[in-house]
């Protein structure tokens, strides 16, 4: 009855080159011993650009450039001046946010509403926040004269390409380190645009180096002898491999890995807001969120009511063109990820859980998966244990608070959790018992540069964000 006409954001604000080199020592260069690969738009499978794949010699060049910049320029520079460069970068990101948001949606598949309203404001805020720390490190609580570590190797995932870059680069630079960063192979483009912003800010050469590539590039970077610090965000399996590979070295490591968060709804919850929180918890960014609320634990006496509301709300989700301003759920980032989501969802059905999706028309080209919930899930099901990293929610019920805690903690992961109840003391009681690095109460998926983020158990170690986020980049 009230159909929204298409409201596409214009692509013309993005000026894509046909091919991109590596960003080493302040300039874009061709790879020495590397290859190249194509980055595509997951919503249409169209090729966006050809991107260099860094080989071992390229890694060598980049690490050497970072070392030189650390020794000669960035390390000796006053915190006050480092701050000014970071503030410049923050401002340039604000000024170019439209361009960055459109490119992020093109390369990643996430809705423009999210890249515009969530990713980009957080990216700029993160640089602002850490810019302010650069000249205040002696007040950060890590000793009288905290020192940087040196050259940081940083490997980031494809789900929040630019935001993860900000989480890595901003604190590293504020603390006085130089970096070599490898963006994910399916989403390298905004990192390359960020490299241009570094040039525009006249950031000294070699302070930030961007190496595009896939797993081999990442491995070569992390294992390089000249690296003092490794920071990785991605899967638990790769995180484990990195932890093994740096064993016995001096390298300091922070890991931000997978999750299987419980979103716990009590019978006295503000139901309408809880339903919004459940939707935001699992369908935000197509569920490509390590802290996604992928397990809904709902108290049995309100389960029917919550599920009914949830389904009604899910029917309102608009799945489709990421550049349409009214799209809520965009494209799955890659064919490989789509395959994994399908495989796990099929396992859910095969193991006896009941599957439901709202009716929705999916585009013919590109990678798509309808928002899906499984009810009648038990703790033993694969969909209750394994990270799906897609728009798939597993629903379980509980009777008592203690049972909710037990089920929530019954996972090797421990990144985040959600609690929904009108009773304040229960929130705090639950929070004390949940083995998770971030606990949201009556909200979900909230991020802020001042707020530390990171996991317990196999969700990784170290924290990003806030005062705590400096620790991983200081010699403490």
């Amino acid at each position: 009855m009230f159909e929204y006409a298409p409201a596409p954001e214009s692509r013309s604000v993005v000026d894509l080159k046909p091919s991109y080199g590596l960003f080493i020592d302040g300039t874009f260069v061709d790879p020495t011993d590397g290859d190249s690969f194509k980055s595509i738009n997951p919503a249409s499978e169209e090729v966006l650009a050809e991107v260099a794949e860094a080989g071992p010699q390229d890694v060598e060049r980049a690490v050497r450039a970072a070392r030189k910049a650390y020794d000669k320029v960035w390390g000796p520079m006053s915190g006050r001046d480092r701050a000014k460069y970071l503030y410049r970068i923050a401002r340039l990101i604000q000024e170019r946010s439209r361009e960055l948001a459109v490119l992020e949606s093109l390369d990643n598949g996430k809705p423009i509403r999210e890249s515009r309203d969530v990713d980009l404001p957080l990216v700029a805020a993160h640089f602002f926040y850490y810019a302010g720390w650069a000249d205040k490190l002696e007040h950060s609580g890590f000793g009288a004269n905290p020192r940087p570590i040196g050259v940081a190797a940083q490997v980031i995932p494809w789900n929040f390409p630019l935001l993860m870059l900000a989480w890595k680069i901003a604190p590293a630079l504020a603390a006085g380190n130089t970096v070599v960063l490898k963006p994910a192979e399916t989403t390298p483009l905004t990192a390359l645009l960020f490299a241009e912003i570094c040039q525009q800010a006249e950031l000294p050469a070699g302070v930030v180096n961007i190496l595009t590539g896939a797993g081999d590039t990442g491995r070569a970077l992390v294992e390089h002898q000249g690296v003092d610090k490794v920071a990785f965000t991605g899967s638990t399996d790769v995180g484990r491999a990195i932890a093994r590979s740096i064993a016995g070295t001096r390298k300091k490591l922070t890991l931000e890995l997978g999750g299987k968060a419980a979103n716990i709804v009590f019978d006295d919850a503000p139901i309408d807001q809880a339903v919004e929180g459940i939707v935001n918890g699992i369908f935000f960014n197509q569920g490509h969120v390590c802290c996604a609320g992928s397990r809904l634990l709902v108290q049995e006496n309100v389960a029917d009511r919550v599920l009914e509301s949830l389904k009604r709300r899910m029917a309102q989700l608009r799945v489709g063109d990421p550049l349409d301003k009214n799209t809520d759920v965009g494209a799955i980032n890659s064919a490989a990820q789509l395959e994994r989501i399908r495989e796990l969802s099929d396992a859910g059905s095969a193991e006896g859980a009941e599957r439901w999706s709202p009716p929705c028309d999916l585009p013919d080209r590109g990678f798509w998966f309808a928002p899906t919930i499984f009810t009648g899930v038990t703790q033993a099901h694969r969909i209750a244990r394994e990270e799906i990293f897609g728009p798939v929610l597993s629903v379980l019920t509980f009777r008592t608070p203690a049972e909710a805690v037990e089920k929530a903690n019954n996972t090797p992961y421990g990144l985040s959790a959600g609690i929904w109840t009108d009773k304040g003391s229960r929130i705090l009681w639950m929070a004390d018992r949940l083995r998770a690095g971030v606990v949201w109460a009556n909200t979900f998926n909230k991020f802020d540069p001042t707020s530390p983020f990171g996991g317990y158990k196999e969700s990784g170690y170290g924290r990003e964000g806030g005062r705590h986020g400096l620790e991983g980049y200081l010699n403490v």
């Binding site: 009855m1 409201a7 309408d272 009556n442």
Partner: protein, 319 residues
């Protein structure tokens, strides 16, 4: 209607008999988290409604306007002109629909009635000692009967906020029941004056109380206190009518009033209706805007869409 809703309905109709039962029920409704509700309302406000969808929304919004004047300075001449405008908002364009209703004080009803007769535009009168409601019940009921007798087919009553806020729910309930009875065949809109209710929890409770007592519409505001309709308040009320219909099978309308001045505002509300309660409410029978200056902005935007040129206030009649 299913068997469950029938029994639920009869159970709910018992609530009004006792203060305790009413209180237990209203305080047992799920709470509203302020931050979450406001974020949801803001998110709905970011929808981008363009071209054909905008044209459709503007015409729908015009049909939903309760074109209102509630001033001490209202005159028969002014309200007649307003009624004429309600029937034909854009004299230059006969394809422009008429508004939902004209809303005036009881004393102005006879003059409006003459003009509206046979037009399809409803005639709403505020009543019950609007806007404060601070009068004896008998006077409020007489006010209502007089408005209906003079030709109003919709009555906009105010609830007794003092009684509501001090927890005398039955008193509020009984007044609504009595006003409904006094309204006869006229539709009863119950004004909650949400700007005085302080919390969204209270808005939800007052919404249910008004619906339980038989209100045909719940309306946000009189427009006479500093805080009028807001998106989050209207969201909570829409959730209430949705849940009420689910529980009882009876559909109740919603009317945000006051502070909605632009087409952009109106479209945000329509998006919210669409995505909260669905198309069943996207109709002047179930959703209205209480507004005075909104209509002219809708007309200007409508002209822009049909002619491609931005119009100006000089080209539309003043209310």
């Amino acid at each position: 209607m299913t068997a469950t809703t029938t029994s639920a309905r009869s159970e709910l109709s018992e609530l009004g008999r006792s203060e305790t039962a009413l209180r237990t029920f209203l305080h047992g409704l799920p709470g509203v988290d302020q931050v979450g509700a406001e974020q949801r309302a803001a998110q709905l406000g970011t929808r981008s409604i363009k071209t054909t969808a905008k044209a459709q929304a503007i015409d729908l919004a015009i049909r939903m306007v309760d074109l209102t004047t509630l001033e001490g300075a209202d005159t028969p001449g002014k309200v007649r002109a307003l009624a004429a405008k309600a029937i034909r908002p854009d004299p230059a364009d006969p394809s422009c629909p008429h508004v939902g209703a004209v809303c005036v004080y009881p004393a102005m009803v006879p003059y409006v009635a003459e003009v509206l007769r046979g037009s399809g535009v409803h005639l709403a009168s505020v009543a019950t000692a609007f806007p404060s409601g601070q009068a004896p019940l008998e006077i409020k009921l007489a006010d209502t009967r007089a408005a209906v007798a003079a030709g109003a087919d919709e009555i906009d009553m105010v609830i007794n906020r003092g009684a509501f806020l001090s927890g005398r729910y039955k008193e509020v309930y009984d007044e609504i029941v009595a006003t409904k009875e006094a309204s006869g065949d006229a539709h009863l809109k119950v004004i909650l004056e949400t700007g005085e209710l302080a919390t969204y929890d209270n808005v939800r409770r007052a919404s249910w109380l008004a619906m339980l007592a038989g209100g045909d519409f719940i309306k946000t505001s009189t427009g006479k206190v500093p805080i009028a309709a807001t998106m989050p308040v209207s969201l909570v009320m829409l959730e209430a009518v949705r849940d009420f219909r689910e529980a009882t099978g009876r559909q109740v309308g919603v009317k945000p009033a006051g502070g909605i001045k632009t087409t952009k505002d109106a479209i945000k509300y329509l998006v919210m209706v669409n995505e909260t309660v669905g198309p069943d409410w996207l109709d002047p029978d179930w959703f209205r805007f209480g507004a005075s200056s909104l209509l002219n902005d809708l007309l200007m935007q409508r002209t822009k869409l049909t002619t491609g040129t931005y119009s100006g206030p000089d080209y539309f009649t003043l209310d």
